[in-house]
């Protein structure tokens, strides 16, 4: 059985335009899948529908065989602990330390009171340090997040997602705000996460070449519809054209 199944999913924010139309795909455990497509195609919306950050209008999403659309509040929180999320702008709390931000990933496992008082176990703290170490930013654990570079902040974001012990990580353009060097570091980390910890990764990307370099499989989205879905090597230049519209390729692959 696949880890994630999306069946006939449709989504619209307002009655006029449908942002997503009849989306169908499955993702196996441990896969590294990239989603590419022009701006406004619906990539971010697609990710947010999976962990129900926005409600879907049609079809359904099955995660680990349970229909996420039917979950009640508590179950939904439980589901979200199993799905990590990584953002373009890292979305860390800037005034808090790195370690505090990482531990936010454990809040989903806590009661309200435990969470408010910030009662984290020693195990959790050790695990947080272990992850920071592994991501190469252990030395910054007590720095405030706004004192870190973008690449370092994104690694904090990854640590926050990983400490959730997720089965799936959703990454919404994780490297769009980073310079080429930092991008490389982040993508390598994501890749090794996927293979070492056997965590499934679903990554929105703007850079076709990066997607091609790192992913097992690529999904191409255009105007809310899947126009390509297949292993990376089958993504030919013509297919890229069809995803982005003919003229634009040069610009994008630069």
């Amino acid at each position: 059985m696949s880890l994630l199944q999306v069946e006939g999913m449709g989504k619209s924010y307002n009655s006029e335009t449908k942002v997503l139309k009849d989306i169908n795909f499955e993702v196996e455990a441990g896969e590294f899948v990239s989603i590419i497509g022009p701006s406004g195609a619906g990539k971010s919306t697609l990710l947010r529908c999976i962990n129900q950050m926005v409600d879907i209008n049609e079809g359904r999403v099955l995660f680990d065989d349970s229909d996420v659309g039917l979950l009640r509040k508590k179950e939904l929180r439980k589901l979200r602990t199993e799905i990590g999320m990584i953002f373009q702008h890292y979305n860390l709390v800037p005034r808090l330390t790195v370690i505090e931000n990482v531990l936010h990933g454990r809040l989903g496992y806590k009661t309200t009171m435990q969470g408010i008082l910030g009662q984290f176990t020693e195990d959790e703290k050790e695990r947080a340090f272990y992850l920071l170490q592994k991501l190469g930013i252990g030395e910054h654990a007590y720095k405030r997040c706004d004192q870190l570079s973008g690449g370092q902040q994104q690694r904090v974001g990854i640590a926050r997602a990983l400490i959730q012990n997720p089965k799936l990580v959703l990454c919404d353009e994780p490297i769009a705000s980073l310079d080429p060097n930092a991008s490389k570091v982040i993508m390598n980390h994501l890749k090794s996460v996927a293979s070492e910890l056997n965590i499934t990764c679903l990554v929105n990307l703007h850079q076709v070449d990066v997607a091609q370099e790192y992913s097992d499989r690529i999904i191409g989205l255009n105007k809310g519809e899947i126009v390509f879905d297949g292993p990376t090597h089958r993504l030919t230049n013509e297919r890229i054209d069809s995803i982005y519209g003919t003229e634009t390729r040069e610009l994008i692959t630069v």
Partner: protein, 285 residues
Amino acid sequence: MEAISMSTYIKRKRDGRIQIKSGNKGERVIRWTIVLFIVFTVMAFMFFDYGQLEIMSAIVETAHNLKIMFLQPALSHFGWGEAVYQVGVTLGLAVLSTVLGAVIALFLALMAATNLSKEWISKTVRILVAFVRAVPTVLWVLIFAIAAGLGSEAAVLGMLFHSVAYLVKAFSEAFEEVDAGIIEALRATGCSWWHIVTHAVLPSTFTYLLSWTFLRFEINFSVAVAMGAAAGAGGIGYELFMASGFYFDLGEVGFITYAILLIAIMLELLSTRLKNRYFAASAVE
């Protein structure tokens, strides 16, 4: 000339001269607002009931009064100890209404912030707060003075009303400025609402909340003086009222004014110091 034929973009006024203003809505509104200000001001001066006021002699007398006040300040109806005590009372009123106000406002502001609350709750709180804010503080205090009786409780409650209304507005705006992405990120980890508030919203806005609260404390000090004078709430304001309204003792008015000025300036310096020292990072952000 070549330029004229080329410049298809030139707009001309009715008299054929080239226009340089964009003439957009904002500009027009600004112009009209200023015109209205002027018209209303002129009307105000025309409508004033000047009574039997003789401006010149009044100005001379004011100058004379100010001279006595500021050059011969003296205490005649109470001593230094009493003066310090009364200032303490006024500060106490300000502290109580500020601290209680901040605590209550914190919860109401969480309800009022559109990014943290349901729309109807937020709207209800906002309308309530707008109403409370519209009633002048002195009316609240006078109403409470009758309803709750004399004593600091009435003054504090009356001042509290306004402090809460003011701080709810300030706090909720601070909350709304919290990066939506941060809230989304925490929501995505499976956090509950209270987790988001305590781990993302409050840490991000704490220094703002503090500096707004301190600003309100400064305001409440002068409100407390006013309530002492106009609503019998006690403290240095009451002494000021007695000195000027009952004894007509300018020297004492002067002394009390100095005392108030001193405290107010100290508070202002303190708040600037606090801001620069501890909240500098927040300003940069």
